[in-house]
């Protein structure tokens, strides 16, 4: 087994545990490279078809390429796709800095979708290497009744035994690719020939390393126009992956506040 085989086997194990131990789960599909890899892994875990819904909490501000990708592959992969809207910006905590406030719409949209469907588990494609607070996450991460993350009281988790009993009305976040890195995602995407949104590939000296809302996501300088070139670029770069995500950099704790409130 090589490195990618090991990552894959671990993710499949997590998917199967989530499906066995929770009653009603959904996968959060952000249309980005990470959640596409997740869907691929879920299809491997369940032998072809993902047996639970793919939930797209739609801010309405994604790139047109992303919507095209969603509509095409939602059908091709036979996903049970649920698209749920987000509330307008006025409904969001005004004390947050502008970009974070914009991103927080997604948290609110997520809460509305949770209330609507009553999911007890949401599968999310976050990774430890992306961002410092995500590095402190559990694979099965309990959320409070309000969807909040109590980082001071995370339960112990070891030997692939997961805490899978959320209190009534609360839910769990399940993170099947927490242990992957950005380079792992690309190497696996290439090996498995998983489709990607072309915005990730360089055009006119720029490419997107991470895709979010159009108004708060910026491309980075790059000449990598293929996955191979992206992998070479990642070998050498010291620029963090989420450098183009405005919401991460507004204040010291902006991202942590978002996450504690239930952001991904």
């Amino acid at each position: 087994m090589d490195h990618l085989d090991q990552l894959e086997a671990q993710s499949i194990y997590i998917f199967r545990e989530a499906f066995a131990r929770l009653k009603k789960i959904a996968l959060l599909w952000s249309l980005g490279k990470d959640s596409n890899v997740m869907i691929w892994l879920a299809r491997k875990a369940f032998f072809g078809r993902m047996p639970f819904p793919a939930l797209h909490v739609d801010t309405g501000k994604k790139f047109p390429e992303m919507y095209r990708f969603r509509d095409h592959y939602g059908k091709e992969w036979e996903l049970d796709l649920r698209v749920e809207p987000c509330p307008p910006i006025d409904a969001v905590d005004p004390t947050l800095p502008p970009a974070a406030r914009s991103a927080a719409r997604k948290t609110e949209g997520l809460k509305m979708a949770l209330a609507k469907y009553g999911f007890d588990g949401l599968i999310a494609g976050i990774r430890r290497d992306e961002e410092a607070t995500r590095a402190k996450e559990r694979v099965f991460s309990p959320r409070g009744l309000e969807g909040n993350w109590d980082v001071r009281d995370q339960p112990p988790e070891f030997w692939d035994h997961f805490n899978a009993s959320p209190p009534q009305g609360a839910h769990l976040r399940i993170h099947p690719i927490l242990h992957w890195t950005e380079a792992d995602i690309w190497a696996y995407t290439k090996r498995e020939n998983i489709p990607i949104i072309p915005l990730y590939l360089a055009k006119d000296g720029k490419r997107y390393r991470s895709l979010g809302d159009q108004d708060i996501t910026n491309p980075v300088a790059s000449t990598a126009s293929s996955i191979d070139e992206i992998l070479v670029e990642l070998e050498q770069t010291k620029v963090p992956e989420r450098a183009g995500r405005a919401l991460d950099h507004e204040t010291e704790d902006a991202f942590e506040r978002l996450r504690v409130a239930g952001y991904l």
């Binding site: 490195h3 671990q10 499949i12 199967r16 607070t133 590095a135 030997w159 890195t181 070479v232 620029v239």
Partner: protein, 638 residues
């Protein structure tokens, strides 16, 4: 020290050429874990652009001197209080390794987070403050590394600048901790004097520690080996789920040890059922050929339909795990409320869960204390050995035989409260929860058999509906009673009206129905009676369960009346209803009846009278030692 792979090399940065090793940094609070991590990242050129500047700015904003720990303490509360609350992970590279560094909190209050971090590690760095020396969390973390199965441990004696780089002080600490770890069966791979703040001993041997000839921290990390999958051990495939998404019935799980391939015979534990692997399924390409080894998440199909459930373990016959209802484990306890004898728990061994009772507690100590006294209960953050009695049989191994399957976790109120290693397994022993004290009968078995002229037995009549089971059972009951014996009829339908009134006719409910019949019948047999059970019991597996429960007292009689004859009799009108479609899951038409292959006796009631059939049964009971042979007895008395 950072090695950049050239662009010409294959584009698998964390891939096949460089091993990935996960290392946890543990030790007492404030002994310098986070500082060492920060220093390692700096020395290996692994810090992201702008990170150092950001940290300096954060420190300045708080009016604090520059703190490496701010790099890892990502949470506002951690920075405000200057303590690490939860484990974090960060990656860097040495000359020959991709390293995932796990920084674990040293504060006793957050031991659950230290365990969460350390359980994922291949190796550990245990850090000790040169001035303070070995402290309680140093010892506790050392003990937990041993319990978590982390065998490669490097010791780092930090803050050597605070003891003027004294070789004597270093040796003192080195001797003390080495002795402590060796007592636990852990041999340190290196003991290294460093100053994480200044950099001595981290990546370079400076003049100030010129007397030290061993490896630097980076060199020591380079020598740690990644954990290897346990392919050389016996096959263990714990079943996570059974999927029926299409016409395939796929048994899914991760191979924890050993390997398997299509065509091989396997045994499903704890029930002990045998089957062959028909195929190894996958996606997008399926089926897959060749051996599948430890670490793989697989799906297999079997050559026959068996009742398998989540938590069963698939193994090869001859090297299967032991079935048990009782085991001994060495555990660590994380719950606020101490663990006491008699406590009810939920135990998880892989995907298998079982309710359990603590039967005994021994060697309960605080591993942080130097000479700790033994307690009756296991307190929070303490360790101990416990005997547990399980309400469901599980299949498991002692951890010395299989480190993957020989471990368990304990849950209280849906939250993981502890975990540990299986020390030993009492094979086949029945559960005896401490709050249940079985009362022994006042009579001895031989007193009863002397009166009844027979031993206790379970006579199990199986066959299609209307095959004549109940008629035969009644005739046998009358005959044994007439001869002075103590027969008791247990009719499946009669028991369904009371004891089994909560059960329906699904495969699972049928199994439970049979299990209860067998338990009741066995109890009667142990007390010298002959329990006559008349039950369709169509599943071979369920009858095998009944035989296992009644053990040597079991006598199976197959009432093999042909199906046409049964249907023409139809005294209860069931066949007619089933044909009309108003009686679902009725054995005989819709469900398959699985004929016994090794019954003690087979009787066709369409070719002989009831009396003749009863004769045959009586004869079989004599031959198999249930009924005493009168002539032989008489001869013995002369």
């Amino acid at each position: 020290m950072n090695m950049i792979v050239t662009s010409a090399s294959p584009a698998t940065p964390n891939g096949t050429t460089r091993p990935q090793v996960r290392i946890v940094i543990v030790g007492h609070v404030d002994h310098g874990k986070s500082t060492l991590v920060g220093r390692l990242l700096h020395e290996t050129g692994s810090l992201p652009e702008g990170k150092l500047e950001m940290l300096k700015a954060v420190s300045a904003r708080r009016g604090m001197p520059f703190e490496w720990s701010f790099l890892l303490d990502a949470l506002q509360t951690e920075r405000d209080q200057g303590i690490t609350i939860d484990t974090t992970q960060i990656r860097f590279r040495t000359n020959s390794r991709d390293i995932v560094l796990i920084d674990a909190p040293g504060h006793a209050e957050f031991l659950r987070n230290m365990i969460t971090g350390a359980s994922q590690a291949d190796g550990a760095v245990l850090i000790i403050d040169a001035l303070e020396g070995v402290r309680d969390q140093t010892r506790r973390h050392g003990y937990l590394l041993h319990l978590l199965g982390v065998k490669q441990v490097a010791i780092v004696v930090n803050k050597m600048d605070r003891v003027d780089f004294s070789a004597d002080r270093f040796k003192e600490i080195s001797d003390e901790i080495s002795a402590h770890l060796k007592g636990l069966g852990v041999t340190p791979t290196a003991v290294i004097p460093i100053s994480a703040r200044d950099g001595d001993g981290v990546a370079v041997r400076t003049d100030r520690i010129g007397w030290y000839k061993g490896p630097t921290v980076v060199e020591a990390l380079d020598r740690l080996e990644p954990a290897r999958p346990l392919e050389a051990l016996a096959l263990r495939l714990p079943v996570q789920a059974i999927y029926k998404f299409d016409d395939r019935r796929i048994v899914a799980g991760r191979i924890e040890s050993g390997s398997l391939a299509a065509g091989e015979e396997i045994v499903i534990m704890p029930a002990g059922k045998i089957a062959k692997i028909k195929s190894v399924e996958s996606w997008p390409a399926t089926p897959v050929a060749g051996r599948q080894g430890a670490g793989r998440s697989v799906g297999i199909t079997l050559d026959r339909e068996l009742f398998i459930e989540r938590g069963d373990i698939i193994a090869h016959a001859g090297t299967s795990p032991r079935e048990t209802r009782r085991l001994r484990a060495r555990i660590f306890w994380l719950h606020d409320k101490p663990l006491n004898k008699g406590d009810q728990l939920l135990v998880r061994c892989g995907p298998k869960e079982s309710r359990a009772t603590v039967v005994a507690i021994e060697k309960a100590v605080d591993p942080g204390e130097l000479e700790s006294s033994e307690n009756k209960a296991i307190g929070r953050n303490h360790v101990g050995e416990i005997d547990i009695s399980l309400s469901n049989p599980i299949a498991t191994d002692p951890y010395t035989e299989n480190p993957r399957t020989g471990r368990l976790v304990i849950e209280v109120s849906g939250r993981i409260a502890g975990g540990g290693l299986v020390l030993s397994v009492d094979a086949g022993q029945r559960a005896v929860p401490v709050d249940i004290v079985p009362v022994e009968s006042a009579l001895r078995p031989d007193e009863r058999s002397a009166r009844y002229r027979h031993n206790g037995a379970v006579v199990w009549l199986t066959g299609l509906p209307a095959s004549g089971k109940s008629t035969l059972a009644k005739a046998l009951e009358r005959r044994l009673f007439t001869n002075g014996g103590s027969p008791i009829l247990l009719d499946g339908d009669t028991l369904r009206a009371g004891l089994n009134g909560d059960l329906g006719f699904s495969a699972q409910d049928r199994s439970e129905n049979i299990r209860r019949l067998a338990e009741v019948a066995t109890h009667l047999a142990r007390n010298g009676h002959i329990a006559i059970v008349a039950a369709v019991s169509p599943a071979r597996e369920d009858r095998a369960t009944a035989r296992r429960i009644a053990d040597t007292a079991f006598r199976e009689i197959f009432v093999a009346t042909p199906a046409e004859v049964c249907e023409s009799r139809d005294p209860k009108g069931h066949y007619a209803k089933a044909r009309a479609g108003t009686l679902a899951s009725f054995t005989g038409i819709g469900n398959d009846y699985q004929k016994p292959e090794a019954a003690e006796l087979t009787i066709d009631t369409s070719t002989r009278s009831i009396a003749e059939a009863a004769d045959e049964i009586e004869q079989m009971l004599k031959i198999t030692g249930v009924l005493f042979d009168e002539l032989a007895d008489l001869a013995a008395n002369i």
